[in-house]
């Protein structure tokens, strides 16, 4: 139950994803054939906050007295994971999707924020929302609830399941009001490039629609509109 080493991505990779939406990133990953890259059923507790950072993972299991005793004899994996966080990291928690208890609350969130973490993603509920909503920390979860967690943290920095997605330590986590996208490092540069191109194209297409064009031929874009777009790009970047 120790932490496996992983390589944090180069800052330029995060930089490249700065303007990318979770929908565009997901569109790119879908095109690349990468499945299970989006958390389904999670929502931003504070709508409007964007999240971008590097995954540190944490896994919970149902509690039992003998396991609880063994875990508490050492340092709890949840605490180790939090102390492991570096500025810009995102703690991603497999809490089995359970919303009958809050798996993290105000105290843990305070330390997570002090570590400079970019945010918190929980496949389950969190608690102390009356307090959490006064903090700056972007939190994505299934919801909020009062009771303490019926689970125990058992491992950190292992591959986890989070709301339908696979999350590996070191993955890039991108959250906005559509939800949370998980971007493997190996695809991140391509995702950034393709997603930005797609968004740029969409701006152009929406502009055409706002000028009164029919959607037929415009979206999904046909060859003619693509040529128009290329021409427009050359004009705008050109002499």
């Amino acid at each position: 139950m120790s932490a496996a080493p992983f390589q944090r991505p180069a800052p330029a990779l995060l930089e490249a994803l700065q303007e990318v939406s979770s929908a565009a990133a997901s569109g790119a990953l879908t095109r690349f054939g990468v499945p299970n890259h989006y958390c389904l059923g999670l929502r931003p507790l504070l709508p409007g906050r964007r999240l971008l950072g590097v995954a540190v993972t944490l896994r919970y299991v149902p509690t039992r007295p003998d396991l609880a005793e063994r875990l508490r004899a050492a340092t709890l994996p949840s605490l180790e994971a939090i102390e492991f966080l570096q500025p810009g990291d995102v703690l991603v928690v497999d809490a089995l999707g359970r919303t009958d208890g809050g798996h993290l609350g105000d105290v843990m969130a305070t330390r997570i924020q002090m570590k400079g973490a970019a945010g918190l993603v929980v496949d389950g509920a969190v608690r102390d929302f009356p307090f959490l909503q006064q903090m700056d920390l972007p939190v994505f979860a299934r919801g909020v609830v009062g009771p303490p967690s019926p689970l125990l943290p058992v491992e950190y920095n292992v591959p986890i399941h989070c709301a339908g997605a696979l999350v590996q330590p070191g993955d890039l986590i991108l959250g906005d009001d559509d939800g949370v996208c998980v971007i493997p490092q190996a695809w991140a540069a391509e995702v950034a490039r393709v997603a930005r191109e797609a968004e740029e194209l969409e701006v152009f297409l929406r502009q055409k629609l706002l000028e009164g064009r029919s959607i037929i031929g415009v979206y999904p874009p046909g060859e003619a509109i693509r040529r128009e777009y290329e021409a427009s790009r050359q004009r705008s970047s050109g002499g």
Copy 2:
């Protein structure tokens, strides 16, 4: 997979429903014995926006390469449905209730708005919410999510299932913060009349309660309070 003709309702019918809430319309339809007239599980993405218009329907099925190829060889039914929209229409989409992909996004919403549509109702999720929330278009859906749709549009203007309701092309769609009510044209005039009467009566009953009356006899209204109400109406409309 072509569009069946249908008669749009007279403007007066829409006018008559202008002040009616979805709850009052549903109350009237329930009284008339019309089942399956309310979308269950949909919410306004932008609370506070009212929706009233005429249904144009669109049906999705799970994707498959051979069907995708055949559909794309012609014009996609989703695009035909959007171009079919007239000012005041509502695009109502059977997306099988699926929230693992966004079945419409910013580009399609832009064209829907340009067509003068009254709004969009989706039994499933939409995507690009960070953009959609800046538009004026009332959207009712199960939620928002980043990934592209795993479905294909297969037919439009056929009777569809939408979140527990039947929707036929030409039905009147009435949405507010309680949700979305589907009003068949044949009942619409009666719905408008009965719903407005019920709301007027409820204003009176609430007034009596605000004056300190017991709810017993007042709601559901007994004969005595109904007589009081009739008397009050005659006074207010009278000489």
Copy 3:
């Protein structure tokens, strides 16, 4: 189907819970081994409103013509329950978790408010949300929906199931943005004491974290930090 007598708690008990969060109350009840004390799946319709009061319970069952006739021949249990309310009471409704109809609406809510009730908790949906959100009444429910209820009120002031919790008449109901906690009278004084102590301790622990401490040893609090806390309390309360 009559009301059983129950003792309302002393005002001091409510007073003691005034500053307690539903999460802290749930934490205390969990420690005391009291299960089934939290409503799962309910949310505040008007976030930010706190609820604290004494439970009056109401139970619904699916409708049927013969039962409807019998119930309407007398006074409906829902109306009796509402008239039974005293200032500070909370009407807690077992509506079988159903969200395909709104079990209470604007008229009933108006009378509930006029009775001085502290709020309304419904395991199911309510209707007329466009109106309800203009009222002052704290309402916790599964959601909002337009159609009338497909259920009938059948009993009041009996023990009920509400969203996973047991609610008995006279229980204390504490709601905030985390949800709704049900506090049995017999445990209420202890809950207030333990929850306030826990919250006071957590303020101290968060302060330590804000000063840059590691979470290890601080939360869950080890012996050293507990001694620090005791020392700090004595200083602050001391002469």
Copy 4:
């Protein structure tokens, strides 16, 4: 939490339903406009056993130490309900649909059988299935599971919710491999008559289909086939 008196139906009423299937009974009740008369999600634990009897109802709620203590100080409502059973009765249990515990097991089933009960219907799970399957007692439930019930019996012979149906004490309970139908006494004679007529007609229609007829005109039966049927009935009953 005492038993309300109710009138058991005349034996002739049960006799009349002896040959009726739960599907035919449900068809008749649907035609009469009686909703909520069928238990959804229950299955016969021992397929092939038919159940017909009179409902005695029992209601469970989530457990809590104070309620448990109060209930055990008197006689548990579950035991009172079982002792209340007369030969031919069916114990119908609202166990909140929960399958995380078995609400009745081998010991209670033994006494239920000794009382001459016609069977047991549980909206939830039962336990001790290795033993129960050796008994003669028809049991309909959501499933089987090992843990004891997390619920408490709180009332008997009150109207209950059972798997989507309303069950009142004295209702007729008819179970077969399709599931469990709840027949109110007031409709039972008409249900028996209409259901038997429908089944007789269906035998005739199936015979016509087995002779090679097209289903068009035969089912749903048109006027011509109905005349044929009448003629055939007169022939078979005639001189």
Copy 5:
């Protein structure tokens, strides 16, 4: 709401799938990248019966008086679909997954069988199971239930959604105790070839395991075991 023409597959195609299991067919389709080819949540009502045939599709929507009247004025699409069946066809029904009513029963099943259909697949429940289990017809459905269907048949031989799968008229339907696989004609020959090869290989691999081999290298099969397999095939077909 008329039937689109489609080409039934050559008998040799069906012949080639005769020995293929639904699991092997699904394995092949997964390898070919064909998604949405398996019905999830359906089970054989009569375990042990195999189903193989050509899809005729039927689509239901929630009922409403005006639609019911219009449909009944002509011939119901369900009846047209049944009469359209040729020997070896399979009627595949999108009944919205609903199990609160039985969408087909004994009479319709009788005619389906008389038409020589290979079987029936329903995304929803069927009724009259006490009768259906005495018939020879393989039926795959979500379950059985007594009440009549709350839906209306609205179209046939259009692409439908069935339990997570896409079904187009003319698709090959292959059912066994694992469930129902939908094989598009365009892939059917390749599915048959690859699935039979895979099953043949698996027989060999299981034989090796029964001889005591470790599973490592054997499954998934490594190069060495594949060479062994090729050698064994040549031996058995050779000389």
Copy 6:
């Protein structure tokens, strides 16, 4: 992702549980305050088979190309777990409860059986049921389905979540027609003792009921019946 060492229980411990039902074991664990000890939603694929053995655990996560490549470069954890099995072991698999793919099939089951394993428990579906039902291996799972698994095996012999239960390597797994109970080694001897006592007592209580006693006082057993039972035990064991 390697196997942690654990101590298999002494054979006498398994021996002591030989006659204990999963319901009785769960009853004992509930009394001891051990939560999360029963798998909810799993059923025996071959009813009537009993399972008793020692847990070897295996954990799956959603697939992704980079993880798949890394895992396949070494030996898959699923294969390592199977080869790790000793006679009498039970492979317990966290497959995230997913039934859209079969996580183990005929080939893996064959090797599991060859290793002398006592059985297989899967929180998810298995495939190749037409083959599996011809084997001797007791399998408990959520169901059967044809498609291959959409998951990857990622670790073995770590604590896992299985259908609501915690399973640690070395736990005792006891399955029968009620389902699967997870017995921690530390409690196993006490579970065996208490469960056998409870079952012996229940035999006595059922005998009393079969003699015509009222259930009141007999179950739950009062003091008088307990004294009778003690007397009866002394008689039967005595001179």
